[in-house]
Symmetry: C2
Subunit: 208 residues, 2 copies
Amino acid sequence: MNTELKKKTRNSEITRAHILETAFYEIYRQGFQGISIDKIIKNTNVTKGAFFHYFRTKNDLGYAIVDETLREIIQERWIRPLAAYKNPLQGILKRFKRLIDEWADENVPLGCPLNNLTQEMSAVDPIFREKLQAVMLMWIEETEKYLKKAQADGYLKQSVNTRALAEFIVTTQEAAFAMTKTMNDRRMLASIYNSLKVYLESKSAAKS
Amino acid sequence: MNTELKKKTRNSEITRAHILETAFYEIYRQGFQGISIDKIIKNTNVTKGAFFHYFRTKNDLGYAIVDETLREIIQERWIRPLAAYKNPLQGILKRFKRLIDEWADENVPLGCPLNNLTQEMSAVDPIFREKLQAVMLMWIEETEKYLKKAQADGYLKQSVNTRALAEFIVTTQEAAFAMTKTMNDRRMLASIYNSLKVYLESKSAAKS
DNA sequence: AACATTACATACCAATTAGTATGTTGTCAA
DNA sequence: TTGACAACATACTAATTGGTATGTAATGTT
């Protein structure tokens, strides 16, 4: 009892989450192959013994970040907010726009963490590939669900292949951040957003 | 004289080019931070002394690959072929299609070398950033030149912002290979190509 | 209160890393 | 032909790497 208030000097959940969070930011900035366990434990104020108590290898840490951190980020940023919109097409565009507006200047040269890790690691390690692919697949499939809903509710032309459109939308969103990172210029975000908007409007049904 | 036929045991141009080529493929497969100089010289059959005779540091090797290898690849694959087409919009689509058709299966999980290196290194090292950005800028600007030509010749609607369209085209092309790599499925290429085709056709002027 | 177990801590290690120091040997111009 | 320099070759090094061996102390359970 009293699991919430008692101040423990040890708490496995918190320690593990703390390592994951720190490692996530390090990897986001330097890449997975660019960071070392020594750096992570230094920034976490956790000893090597503790680190290897939670993660058997450096790769295992990476896998956990994909399965937990990255998956959650995609869900939170791109999927769950769509539920609030009556017109999913509008929802997709509005959410994209908001993410752009709220994208911190310091993140402009850093890009999308999922894309970064994917481009770096999926060709290097098959387990990374599989896990990163699974996250991306989820993103596409969840997007398609909303496109189908849009079609059912008369917001999207019946002729549209929802899978292909979902792939194109997710690709464009990912690409927007990638190109913004490359050019180090946040105007790329607005430019690509507008192009996607025009494209989606050409696919939307007359209703509203 | 007789600089072509004499078989020299030493040839600085060839040796340097050989190192660059080998390193390019290693980096394409493992990433820049994932390779070591020892690996490169092993696969090149060049000694460490020779390597450091040509490149002062590992980073300098990377810079040379961006400035020379990657720049040339973009020129050869995406820019120069466009000169052969009367209608640049058609040229862009046809070239894209051909690259897709000829994209080797083994390259599907590897993606675009420019994008790989950019996503990995531009946040890590400012000189990488600057050089990679310059290559991408060239790609966009050269593409825009052809869009302007298309506009002048009546193939592209006058209302179109050529810079924004060039950015969108290059972004989509890069993104197509990135997503194909992520999903490890070459059908992504065709899917995204078709979306781009539809989009470009909506921007093309009536003339043919 | 005793105990087993989990959650850490410390010290170490072999391998790999980028880079250097110090050579030797082709090549070419004078 | 010789000398100067470029084009390599070999052996080394200090730092860093991921990971282990072996501890100790906090915690929940009986």
